[in-house]
Amino acid sequence: MEQHYQHLYEMLSKVDGYIYPNELELQWGVLVVLYPYLTGLVAGAFILASLERVFKVKVLGPTYQLALITALAFLICAPLPLITHLGKPGRFYEILITPNSASAMAIFGFVYLWYLTVVLLLEIWFDYRRDFVIWSREKTGFMRRVYKVLTLGVTDISPKALKWDDRIGYIITIIGIPSAFLLHGYVGFIFGSIKANPWWSTVIMPVIFLFSAMVSGIALVMVIYMGVSYIRKVKIDMAALDMIGKYLFYMLILDFAMESLDQVHRIYEAEESFDILNILVNGKLIYTMFAFQITLGMVIPMVGLGIVQLVKVKEQIRKIIYVSSGVLVLVGIFFMRWNVVIGGQLFSKSFYGFTNFKLGLVGTEGLFSAIMWMLLPFALLAVLLWLMPPWKKQEAI
């Protein structure tokens, strides 16, 4: 506690102008930045998967299961940093048991569970059921049992049963698309509905969150697909990769348009909060917003991917453009979340000044903890890919 106070006294000496005394300490730190970031990756990855399934973009076949499993790994991890950041993490289940129907946040548990159980788990299960059955017959010992459990006792793999699997999976994906929109649009609403905060309170926030989610999720699957192919030493399906690159490019344009619309609207209307937000953007957020979010995370990938669309580029160069654009987009969207969550707490609601934020290294809200939470879904993804490898599945067909 002493250390905490010492940190706050240090922050107190760095206040610019006037802030309400209770505003010194940021309520939401890097863990809450991770929450919209992770859920966005889930929604984006799922939408990429549904392009193949529902919109029949067959060229994306090689990434379909990979996208689904990526979505699952990240979805399972998404609420963990959120629960950790609570003052009373042990009470988190109260949101599910006694939700306040007037609260936007209270719906989170239900949206999350719906998406996890009704959409992702079911879709993956119907997609993998045949393979679970085959693997449970092929493997021996412990793994045999694991796959047997995963079949949930449904071992009929007659063509008729498989046709049903396919049909149900299709229906679930159709339900899944609005659900993915709901999941992330809703996260945007959590911020967008706070009228006290002019940096957050915009009706377009859910839309911005959605498009940025699609951008980041597509970039994630693209980078993971390239990484997994590299680790497995197999040739990348360039037709699939080119198609993902194309979608990423289009989504980037849409996302850029939405975010620009929001900013242009703010600047043109120039309401009461404009002056303080102007100082915020050109001061405390200058690097994270102009350098990381916009230039590195948006403009450069957009130019790179745009060139690939317009000019014939060699395969090797295309790969470099894709991987670098993907990574830059992932960094950029992280900073987009950062600028929303942290940026929205740096200025005082009195509009007379700014508090300060310094990301510590250790502690539950520190940098190391954030890195750990960020690595966790990748570790889980590795386990899931080992347990149910999409490439084994494709070989079996």
Partner: protein, 254 residues
């Protein structure tokens, strides 16, 4: 004949379907709106508490903030307050300077030269006990609630410490208690007003700049205050249903 029968049964079917669909559509449209609109109403009987603060009476002694910390065991550090006092100084060049060192507990020193001052005054701040309180609206578990007599309270045995309410309060009146790890705020000294005592900040105020009263009682001191004074609430555009009424509130105050 057969054709007519089919036509008539089809017509009936369509009629019924449209009627049923219409009923469902209308009722489902009305209900979500009721869920989305958030407000609490005054009780038909019993008190509906509100607060009046007369800025022209406040001398900036900071005793209110000190008394509040003592009475409610608010952490002493200068970044946790249930109530505090702000000093506004409007300069001749129209710039505004706001200060509240340690919430005003240690008193104020004017940092602007006398000849540069256009106007200076003190503004005590505390929870607005809004009837459409954004903090209560957003609490995911209902740990923050509006008492039947109109006081915004926190059930600390129930709060999960998500800080969503802190974000939602436009007036900066909430904080996460550093030891209890739950949301904390002004209770209008609920433990005192329930037994007829006035809140600590008002009890100690040497100039009676703060009063509280029953808005349901047309004879109350607060209702008289509302009749006599040229009052305003903070950030009226937020439509929070604030029940903290200021006399002599200037536009600079936010």
């Amino acid at each position: 004949m057969g054709g007519n029968r089919i036509k008539s049964s089809r017509r009936n079917f369509i009629k019924k379907t449209v009627a049923a669909a219409g009923t469902i559509a209308v009722s489902s449209l009305l209900d979500p709106i009721n869920v989305l609109v958030f407000a609490t109403d005054p009780p038909e009987e019993g008190p509906w508490w509100g607060v009046g603060i007369d800025i022209s009476q406040c001398i900036g002694c900071g005793m209110c903030a000190k008394a509040c910390k003592m009475e409610n065991k608010v952490p002493e550090e200068p970044f946790y307050f249930r109530t505090w006092v702000e000093q506004y100084t409007v300069l001749n060049d129209e710039t505004v300077r706001v200060e509240s060192p340690n919430g005003g507990i240690d008193g104020f020193e004017q940092s602007v030269e006398d000849e540069d001052i256009f106007k200076t005054f003190f503004v005590p701040k505390m929870c607005n006990h809004c009837s459409k309180s954004p903090c209560t609206q957003v609490c995911p578990v209902g740990a923050t609630f509006e008492s039947p007599d109109g006081v915004a309270l926190v059930d600390e045995s129930y709060c999960i410490g998500c800080s969503y309410c802190v974000q939602a309060c436009p007036y900066g009146c909430r904080y996460l208690h550093p030891e209890k790890k739950v949301a904390d705020k002004c209770t209008l000294c609920y433990h005192r007003i329930k037994i007829g005592l006035s809140p600590a900040c008002m009890e100690i105020c040497p100039t009676q700049a703060r009063i509280y009263g029953d808005l349901n009682d047309k004879e109350s001191e607060l209702v008289q205050f509302l009749k006599d004074k040229n009052w305003q609430i903070l950030k009226p555009h937020m439509n929070t249903g604030s029940k903290l009424f200021y006399n002599a509130l200037r536009a600079e105050v936010r």
